[in-house]
Each structure stands twice: as C-alpha cells, then as structure tokens.
C-alpha cells in the first residue's frame, strides 16, 4: 500500500515544531505502525538527515512506551491495542496519517514524538509501599480473596502507564491511570493496609504535576490499550473521600515515596 505520514518534528522543547510529510510506497498491510516509522528513519539516515525520535521498547503492547497520537487517536484507531500493535491494514490505501506526540503540560516534549512521562513515576512513588511477608513462598490461596476483588484488581493491574488516558482526555486528566493503580492495590489484601494513606498521597502528587481534572467524558477508557473501565475513577473518588474522612494514618511512613 501507499501512505503518507505527516509527523510532528521538533528539535527540543523550546524550538518551534511543525509537521513533515513522508510519502511511503510498498508498505505491507502486515507491517506494524512502528515498522513503518523504522522505514521512514532508515530513509532519513541514508539521506543523512535526522531520524524521527519516538519511544518504543517491547513492541508487543506490554511496556507502554510507544506513546503517540495516530490520526487524532491515542495509539491509533484500533481499539484495545498500543501503537506498536497497530498494523497497517487498519488504514486505507493512499491515506495521509497524522502522527503527534502526547500533548499535556505534565508531559513536556523532549523531541519529535518523545515526551517526558516521569510525572507518572512520581505519582507511583507517592503511592509508597505494600506490606508483604518475606520468607518462603507462601502457599497458594493462603490469603483468601474474593473472585470479584481478584478480577477487578487484575483488570486494574493491566495498566501499563502509557499515558494515553491523559493524551486523549480533553482536560489532560490522569484519573484513569491513578484510579487503576489505587483500585488495584486497595482491593488486594497485600495493599489494603496502606490504602488510605496511599490514595491521599497519590492524589496529592497528581495535583502537583499540572494535569487537568476529570469531567467524566470517558475518552480515556475509549483509547486505553488495556480497556480499563472508567468506573475505576468513581471508585477512586470514593476512596479519596473516605480517606479524607479517616485522616492520614501513618503520616510519614508511606508519604513522599
């Protein structure tokens, strides 16, 4: 197939940016989107030009690094997949595909399609620790946990921290991410001990990063490559409200990371 990639190029955070067009021929339908970007870069390198900077690592949808807006949709038009799992058969022949970086104040641009997502790391750090017993491998099912809770925790744990929720949200809100992390640990016996301090600290860290607020538009769950339900956001709001009423149990132990 024949396609044209319209890619955002920007040398660094302070340089002006703009779209560059790359017409590509002989693209196989079975290629992944990142493989096409590789081809663009090979050509650029052969021509002695600067390749397009983009984040990628596992290329199988588990690391969450490949952050990009493809034709206005975070991770591209396919549902429930990351950019690296997007295949060219998703696009029509002769289409022009616009590729942009995540746009959020809390995710400052580094170069081209690469943004700095360490804001997420700081939120995770603020979540603190989980109390577990050390020693020998525990017996399976030694700690009873209901199937409902196990399933919900598993759904939340699918979050790979890619940042698509922030990127797609009209407000740049990270609530789906935060709610997945809080929701996972609050449901499991191993995370319950610190649950109230955790949610207070994580929300406090979230507010410091310059993200927007959640207005329940549900864009986040529509683009989430792990299809995490926006209902977790309701659970986060509830958890935060209850934690505020209960107060911070151990002020410093779980605080700050």
């Amino acid at each position: 197939m024949k396609i044209t990639l319209r890619i955002w190029r920007q040398k660094n955070a302070s340089a002006p940016g703009g779209f560059d067009e790359f017409p590509m021929d002989h693209i196989s339908e079975d290629m992944s989107f990142l493989e096409v970007l590789d081809q663009v870069n090979e050509k650029l390198i052969t021509d002695g030009k600067e390749p397009v900077a983009f984040d990628h690592d596992c290329r199988e949808g588990i690391c969450g690094t490949c952050s990009m807006m493809i034709d206005g949709t975070a991770h591209g038009p396919d549902k429930g997949v990351t950019a690296c799992q997007t295949h060219m058969r998703t696009f029509a022949d002769n289409s022009i595909i616009t590729v942009e970086p995540w746009r959020a104040k809390a995710f400052p641009l580094i170069k081209d399609l690469v943004v700095d997502r360490s804001a997420f790391d700081r939120i995770i750090q603020a979540g603190g620790f989980v109390s577990v017993n050390t020693g020998g491998t525990p017996d399976a099912n030694a700690i009873p946990i209901s199937k409902v809770d196990a399933d919900a925790a598993m759904d939340a744990a699918a979050c790979i921290g890619c940042g698509a929720c922030v990127a797609a949200c009209k407000n740049g809100s990270p609530m789906l991410f935060v709610s997945a992390k809080v929701g996972q640990l609050a449901r499991l016996p191993q995370g319950k001990t610190e649950r109230y301090a955790r949610v207070l600290n994580m929300v406090e860290a979230m507010e410091k990063e310059g993200f927007g607020s959640c207005t329940n538009t549900n864009s986040c769950e529509a683009v989430c490559p792990k299809e995490i339900s926006a209902s977790f956001i309701g659970a986060l709001n509830r958890e935060y409200f209850i934690a505020t009423l209960k107060g911070k149990p151990v002020e410093s132990a779980a605080g700050g990371g």
Binding site: M69, S213, V223, E239, Y240
Partner: protein, 229 residues
C-alpha cells in the same frame, strides 16, 4: 489541613460541583412541577404563588440556599475549567477528534452552563423582579392575588421571549444529560453494574426536564392555552 487539601483537590471540587448540581437539579424538578399548573384554571397557579409568597422564611431560606449552590457550582466550574485549559498548552492538530468518544454535551459543559446562567438571570429579572415586561407584572386577580397566570401567558405570547426560554431549557437539558450521570461518578457512588442505569437516569431526567419546562412557553405561543384577559 487534610480537609483543606480535599477542597483544593480536583476531586474535592468535582464533589462540590456534583452536590451543588444535584441540589439545583432537585429544585428544577420541583419548579417544573409547579409550572405545569399553568394547564389548570388560573386559580391554581395564583394560589400556589400566593402560598409561596406567604412563607417568607421558607422562601428566603430557599433563595439564599440556591444562591449559595449556584455560586459554589460556578466557582468550582471556573477553577476546574481554568485548570483544564492550562493542562494542555499546545493543542492537537484536530482537537475535536482527539477527545475520542467524548459526547458533545460532555465537551461543552462550560458553554451550556454559562448560557444557563444568563438564562437564570434573565428569568429572575423577567418573572421575579418584573423588569423585562413590567406591563404584565403588577397585575392582580379578582381575589387580589398577584396574577401570575396572566403574567406568564401574556409574557410567553411574545415569540422572542418564549423562543429564548425554549432554547435555554434545551441547553439545560443538554447540560444535565452529561451532568446527571457524571455526578454519580464524581461522588463515587457508582460501579460497573450501576453505570448503565445511571446513564439511563440522566437521559430520562434531562428529557423530562426539557419537555416539562418547554411545554409551557410552547403551549402558550401556539395559543393552545389562550384565555382572554
């Protein structure tokens, strides 16, 4: 300190927004039911209005309460909207497309909200203060009561006035079509099982509000209710 953090956090502000929005919605439902008395003989709505006016303490309690709700709702709306606008200094190539699957109502809450606010101010000037159409305001019925029936009917016979009311009420319904399901999640009273029923609740009640409110000016402007004064 913790409580202060709560009210400064976006989650706390959203809870204020949801609770004040719920209070305003509750009032709106009551107001709608009261309005529908326009379809009954004129004694009913005039007696109802006279009854409300006679309960001064209650009347002013409700008025002050509503004012506080509106002010809090708008204060939270302004703070959150400013925060959201600052969160994306550089936008996308096609911002409409990037907000995947977000409904138009959810993307334009501040617009529908501001129009509703303008409408509320106009509405108070019109029927409470009486400064929009003063010629219909100071009238009294045979029993010496404020003639609300005549004020409303003569007022809505003007197609510009009734048209503005209908448009505003449709926008209020639009605001509520998102707001009434959003508020459940904002206060944390939701779960995957409750999600659909709550969305249905929002759709149903925003529809009921639009129909129940708009039917009054429409019935009058098309002369379905057409008394001679």
């Amino acid at each position: 300190m913790l409580l202060l953090n709560f009210f400064r956090s976006s989650i706390g502000l959203k809870i204020i927004m949801a609770l004040t929005g719920l209070a305003l919605f509750g009032f709106t439902v009551g107001h709608m039911v009261g309005n529908l008395q326009i379809f009954l003989p004129k004694e009913h709505i005039n007696a109802y209005a006279a009854f409300l006016q006679s309960q001064k303490e209650l009347l002013w309690g409700v008025r002050i309460g509503l004012l506080v709700m509106v002010v809090l709702h708008i204060w939270a709306a302004i703070k959150l909207t400013a925060m959201n606008a600052a969160a994306r200094p550089v936008g996308y190539n096609d911002p409409g497309k990037s907000a995947t699957k977000a409904t138009l109502a959810s993307r334009t809450m501040i617009v529908s909200g501001v129009i509703v606010l303008i409408f509320i101010i106009f509405h108070i000037l019109h029927f409470t203060v009486g400064s929009v159409q003063p010629q219909f305001y100071g009238l009294h019925d045979e029993a010496g009561r404020h003639d609300v029936y005549r004020m409303v009917i003569e007022g809505f016979r003007n197609p510009f006035i009734s048209g503005f009311y209908v448009i505003s009420v449709v926008l209020l319904g639009f605001h509520l079509s998102h707001g009434l399901s959003s508020m459940f999640r904002s206060v944390g009273l939701t779960s995957p099982a409750w999600r659909k029923p709550q969305e249905l609740f929002a759709a149903a009640f925003s529809g009921i509000i639009v129909v129940g409110m708009a039917i009054v000016p429409i019935a009058i402007v098309i002369r379905l209710i057409n008394p001679t004064f």
